[in-house]
Symmetry: C2
Subunit: 215 residues, 2 copies
């Protein structure tokens, strides 16, 4: 609903395929371990193997997909150690992004974050895991976009990408029936302009969901 201004860009075939798969992976719509073939993807999207190969290689380069020894491409099944690492990366980088966004966080931004948060609550009520993940990431990305730090944002998005398939498994397993209470703490810290509590709120929000799996 709150989509960004969609530009009528003529997108290259491999790029459309890349973005489609990327969103599917990040939102947890693809199960871990699921194999993907070049010809299968090409046929599915009406293109030849070449764009499919480029899209897949790109996703492999970002860590979203795993390349087996024989060249087979599958969504990775993350070990607990890897999940812990990725969670640590989130805990390191996201508070920094939030802190950098804080001076630029005006009231309009906070309102938009609140709106995303209510959409998130609706996803929780509907037990819709994909919508939950999507709105949750949208909440964070909307905040971090204000940080004016594209390199950091790109790094953290690749981390989200790697966590996508397991986040789905995680959130369906946890049977969450409450919206993330830390999001309200984030909003409160933003309104108060309190950087230390903002950093803390972001850090705990990021780690609280993921630490359950490693334990």
């Amino acid at each position: 609903m709150t989509t960004i201004t969609t530009r009528p860009i003529e997108t290259a075939a491999h790029d459309r395929l890349y973005r489609t798969l990327r969103l599917q992976i990040m939102h947890g719509e693809i199960m871990p371990g699921q194999p993907m073939t070049l010809r299968g993807l090409g046929k599915q999207f009406g293109v030849s193997m070449t764009p499919a190969r480029e899209a897949l290689r790109r996703l492999v380069a970002e860590g979203a997909l795993m390349l087996s020894s024989s060249g087979r491409v599958t969504t990775p099944e993350l070990s607990n150690e890897r999940i812990e690492e990725l969670a640590a990366l989130r805990a390191l980088i996201e508070p920094e992004l939030a802190a950098r966004a804080l001076p630029r966080a005006h009231l309009a931004l906070i309102d938009r974050l609140s709106a995303i948060n209510t959409a998130n609550a609706e996803a929780v009520a509907k037990q819709d895991a994909v919508a939950y993940i999507r709105t949750n990431l949208e909440f964070h990305r909307t905040l971090y976009l204000r940080a004016q730090a594209p390199a950091m944002l790109a790094v953290i998005e690749t981390v989200w990408l790697q966590l996508g398939p397991t986040m789905r498994a995680l959130y369906t397993k946890l049977r969450r029936n409450e919206p993330p209470r830390h999001h309200r703490m984030i909003l409160a810290a933003l309104r108060a302009g309190d950087e230390p509590s903002l950093r803390l709120a972001v850090r705990t929000d990021v780690t609280q969901g993921l630490r359950h799996l490693a334990g």
Copy 2:
């Protein structure tokens, strides 16, 4: 009908090309803004456009190369803001990696780090910028390999990759005539098992070189 019978041991062509270019970029052997063409690279490495395209797309996905609007691939010329961002990422992640490596840092590792450090000093004496960058990164990577954190290491290597071309320009401009004194502080903190000073030493070592450019 290839020309010669394939060798019994061979790595995939696109992978060799990728690794070669990746090292060249990370070590600063390629000037920023330099354009690279698919057919040119293919001819240079004796392969067709297909492997060259894959290698370049992979490097673009990692942020090592920039894809212009028309599809041309060049090494990016980083703005000062982007350099500051990447330096901040190094300052965030590398102390964490060092701290995780600390409990596993035995004497043999410290000896190897010292050896790399002397090689680094030799590169400084010879005014060899590429050797300087290479040994400097080797110092850090050797330490971080002990952290047993492959995801974090992969992230920080992509950061190094993005900084490669500008590091070259930076270090030739600064005309460094001294080896990094913070490396000795890192070694001392490792020997003492002192995590706080290790984190501090790594952070200052990482930021000291790069803050000059942004200032």
